[in-house]
């Protein structure tokens, strides 16, 4: 009886030891991975991009009922306002028809002047239109996963917009999916200008629903409601894309409300714009040169 108990406790101790060894092994792995990230030698970005490709089919299936429920709720909420909304849409449509005529006339005039002055066109063609299939980062990052990747000619660094304005840029491009870092992310810095005054500044993400305007020249007056556009400096984004609107000005900070519909992203447009070559391309070109 005693032998059996002893052998039983021996097996328990062995199991506990093995458990402790396993724990330390995985702890060590996680600490090494974290140290690699801290010292900037993290895993290649492509591994993350392929990990997203792996989970994308599951997300495609799971997001359908979510979209259906969201759509149904929005429709239910909208039924009550349908008459008022219809009236305001009619009025808005009349105004837009007039604006359309004016815009077309200005566009034609702009084209003629560009031809005369030999100024190159600034339209950026879309690389792809994609659906948002997932979000990422939890509390640490503001990013979304979209259903278009390198197979759709999406490249790291491409700006992403919706019908209202700039949303962010592609940070990882997998085969079928890409991760888009939103302008509200803490690591997002967008060179911008104030539309009314032309003053240059930087719109910084805060991991919140708002942005902050920084590095504005001294003496620049900014008002609530001012539109903020990309300046095109640095080459990461094309100029004149709407980014945000000034929502609050206090003694210390200027707060911006993003114009892109970040709270209810559905479809997004990825723009084929890459004025400055990305560092991966530069490094891969440099690596190829000696072998040639």
């Amino acid at each position: 009886m005693q032998t059996a108990r002893l052998s039983g406790s021996g097996a328990g101790a062995r199991r506990a030891n093995r458990g402790r060894e396993t724990l330390w092994f995985y702890m060590l792995v996680s600490v090494v991975l974290l140290m690699l990230e801290a010292f900037g030698a993290g895993i290649p970005k492509q591994i993350r991009a392929y990990a997203n490709d792996f989970v994308a089919p599951i997300l495609y299936v799971l997001e359908r009922p979510v979209r259906a429920v969201q759509g149904g709720l929005e429709r239910l909420a909208g039924v009550g306002d349908i008459y008022v909304e219809n009236q305001s849409l009619r009025q808005e449509n009349e105004r837009l028809i007039q604006w359309r005529e004016a815009a077309m006339q200005l566009g034609r005039e702009n084209d003629r002047l560009r031809q005369i002055l030999k100024v190159p066109k600034r339209e950026v063609p879309p690389a792809a239109t994609a659906r948002v299939i997932g979000v990422g980062g939890g509390t640490f990052e503001r990013s979304v996963l979209v259903g278009a990747g390198s197979s759709d000619n999406v490249v790291q660094g491409y700006p992403v917009v919706d019908e209202n304005g700039l949303l962010g840029r592609v940070i990882h491009a997998g085969r079928w999916t890409s991760r888009v870092l939103l302008v509200t992310d803490l690591n997002s810095r967008v060179p911008v200008r104030v539309e009314r005054t032309g003053a240059l500044a930087i719109a910084e993400g805060q991991n919140e629903s708002f942005l902050r305007l920084r590095f504005l020249p001294r003496g620049t007056l900014v008002q609530v409601g001012d539109r903020i556009l990309t300046s095109g400096h640095g080459g990461a984004f094309p100029p004149d894309l709407p980014v945000a609107r000034v929502s609050e000005v206090d003694e210390e900070y200027i707060y911006l409300e993003p114009l892109g519909f970040l709270g209810q992203l559905d479809y997004v447009r990825i723009m084929a714009y890459q004025a400055v070559p990305d560092e991966d391309t530069v490094f891969s070109d440099e690596e190829e040169e000696p072998g040639e």
């Binding site: 997001e63 503001r142 509200t184």
Partner: protein, 168 residues
């Protein structure tokens, strides 16, 4: 009269249920419910699931499974690799050490233990993120997610409990 436990439970395919469910909940965390801005309010379902299964069936959620779920989350959420892996391993270490104190107690005690464990893990993740990025990370989003996760524990644990009674 005690419930007859199938031999499949510990070693067979049903034994993988806790890991499979946790992995599924980890993927569910990526769904664009409200998209970009609202992702902050998505509770940490994987942490809830790991805590629940460790409190009820610790052998079915080994260290390897915690590490694998954590690694998957790190890759999918685009956070520093090793962060969620470390947090889930520490969660297992905590539960195995404290289980004797709260096993068999009522659900509110489980809830309180989870909330305390989660606050410690979120504080640690804040320190790690600040060190890895070399800058003080904002606390508010982290505090909001802890609150949402802590409040979500009860309904999610209730559903997991139903599933456990049905399957295991």
């Amino acid at each position: 009269m005690s419930k007859v436990v199938s031999p499949m439970v510990s070693g067979g395919p049903i034994g993988f249920l806790p890991v499979t469910v946790t992995m599924f909940l980890a993927i569910l965390m990526l769904l664009p419910i409200g998209s970009g801005v609202a992702n902050i309010t998505m509770p940490n379902l994987a942490l809830i699931s790991v805590f629940y299964w460790l409190s009820s069936r610790p052998l079915l959620m080994p260290y390897g499974a915690c590490a694998a779920v954590g690694l998957g989350l790190d890759l999918w959420l685009n956070v520093p690799l090793g962060l969620n892996m470390l947090l889930l391993l520490l969660a297992r270490l905590f539960v195995l050490g404290q289980l004797k104190h709260y096993k068999g107690r009522n659900r509110i005690v489980h809830w309180a233990v989870f909330a305390v464990m989660a606050v410690a893990l979120y504080a640690l993740s804040w320190v790690i993120m600040s060190v890895v990025n070399g800058a003080i990370w904002p606390i508010r989003p982290l505090a909001v997610q802890w609150l949402v996760t802590a409040f979500s524990y009860a309904p999610v644990a209730f559903l997991l409990g139903r599933l456990r009674r049905w399957a295991l």
